[in-house]
């Protein structure tokens, strides 16, 4: 019988620690599928974030580094400059990329660093008990916005990806989602393009992935996916933001 579906070789055959319905598992898998398809597993060096995906290196079967919270793109920069022919990507959550590491991601993009960034946006700090993130929606209840995010107190959701797209150094910026099978397929295509850009030495590419966090959204996995399509994509519309 012909095998039509299997675990990507780059993804280790181990259970993950992620909550039921969490988008990280899907994003991990998509990255690994892309790496396998491009045949670059032995050339990849990943930089894992602080946050829920902090032990991504337990699941990925290629070289990985840790990074201090938010400094992920700096570590990726250091690795890439030493090994310009290796494929270096950073994997960052919204706290990592859009809060503590805002300066680092802006300047790395603006330098046109030839790396790939996978930005997981679930609008909440999952690892530390569901506090407000810069990307938390207006009115969204979190452990630090118990009455809902209030713009007069907490400011607005930060569209960091649109902000990065403004920079001449960023080459390709797309927002995708993993809420439906169709969107998962589109997400994979975007991730693949972001890696291919690096192989072709085109410069900085970033894919933002809207990702469900059922645990801290207080929703079932299914309702969490529906929240992305129904509510989150209004604030964070899907599609290519920049491709030059």
């Amino acid at each position: 019988m012909k095998k039509i579906f299997e675990r990507p070789k780059s993804l280790r055959d181990v259970p993950t620690h992620y909550c039921a319905g969490c988008g990280h598992s899907l994003a991990h898998r998509l990255i690994c599928e892309v790496i396998d398809e491009l045949g670059i597993r032995e050339d990849v060096i990943a930089v894992c974030p602080v946050g829920c995906a902090v032990i991504a290196y337990e699941y990925w079967d290629f070289d990985c580094s840790e990074a201090a919270h938010g400094r992920t793109p700096c570590v990726a920069t250091g690795i890439k400059r030493i090994h310009p022919d290796k494929i270096v990507f950073s994997y960052q959550g919204d706290g990592d990329l859009a809060a503590i590491g805002t300066a680092e991601i802006i300047h790395t993009a603006n330098r046109g660093e030839n790396i790939t960034v996978i930005f997981i946006n679930n609008g909440v700090y999952g690892m530390t008990n569901g506090q407000m993130a810069p990307t938390t929606m207006i009115g969204q209840r979190t452990s630090t916005t118990p009455l809902g995010r209030d713009i007069t107190r907490d400011g607005y959701p930060l569209k960091i990806t649109e902000l990065l797209a403004q920079l001449p150094g960023s080459r390709y910026v797309e927002r995708v989602s993993v809420d439906t099978p169709a969107n998962v397929i589109k997400a994979k295509a975007a991730i693949k393009k972001a890696f291919k850009n690096q192989i072709d030495k085109k410069g900085f590419s970033l894919v933002e992935v809207l990702s469900p966090c059922p645990t801290y959204w207080g929703l079932s996995p299914k309702d969490a996916c529906m929240r992305i399509s129904g509510e989150m994509t209004k604030e964070y519309p899907l599609g290519v933001i920049k491709d030059t």
Binding site: C64, A67, I82, A103, E104
Partner: protein, 364 residues
Amino acid sequence: MAKIMMCGNEVIGEAAVHAGCTFYAGYPITPQNELTQYMASRMTESGGTFIQAESELAAINSVFGAAAAGARAMTSSSSPGISLKQEGISYLAACQLPAVIVNMMRGGPGLGNIAPSQADYFQATRGGGHGDYRTIVLAPSAVEEAWHLTHLAFDLADEYRNPVLILGDGILGQMMEPIEVVRKHLHGKIANHDMRHKPWALTGCKGRKPNVIRSLYLGEGELEELNRLLQMKYDRVKSKEVRFESLYTEDSDLVVVAYGTTSRIVRSAISKARQERLHVGMLRPVTLWPFPEAELQKLAKRAKAFLVVEMSAGQMVDDVKLSVLGKKPIHFYGRAGGGIPTEEAILDIIRDILRAKSRNKVRV
């Protein structure tokens, strides 16, 4: 051989290139800017990487990446900037990555001023960042010594897979002195540092299992085990890497302990004191961590007293006290906030102590 005039900052940069440094990231801050500027041109012409980072955090963390990738990497800053780099230094130590960090100290605390100081001694020798870790700290007192200690810094960093600090001050960084080096070493090609000796480095997992650089250990007892291994490594460093210079200590009643540029002022004061037939000598720690404890313990058997001179409110005094263990009186003279001890002031105190006119206020 040729003698060439260079300032301390530039000499450290050139020595780094010569030692095989292929990655430098820094952020401007006085009084170390000559080093950043020097690396900007030298890294470019020698095929290395120079990054003017957006912050000290970015600089040290890209050094982290370059070190994880197997390169010889360096950053430099001055006091307030080093405070910002402490996060990265703790991570480097935890991940056992080799890197060289230069601190040309200035007056503090806070923004302070840009005058020379030695007030980051505690920060350098005690860790500075979070967690149980140590960094090897080398303290050059002259431009030529800065050349040699920069080479040593890269070698020690690689040998122990640990960050190494070069602790100087604004005087050393800015001062021009002739250095005697083989001319071909200057402005030449980068030494080709061989990465093959770093099997742990991130180079892509071709032909081997994936490498992971990390400091997160969540399993029961795992982090304790890492800490145990780190402490064993620090013990090896303590037993093998203590470096110091002695001056007239064999017949000294009073031993002055001073490091870096302060030791040069002390040296002049001692030379005058010797003309007055005062039995005074100097112990100059070259490694501030590991500290020359054993040598001080030895000296404490015959010397009558110790005097610590620093451009701080008295930080190295703690290490001298821990070494002498209350066996002999310890005096202190220091200038904080960018003040520089004068030869006359040091000589006066030497005379006071040795002629038994020591005032209680300087005894600690």
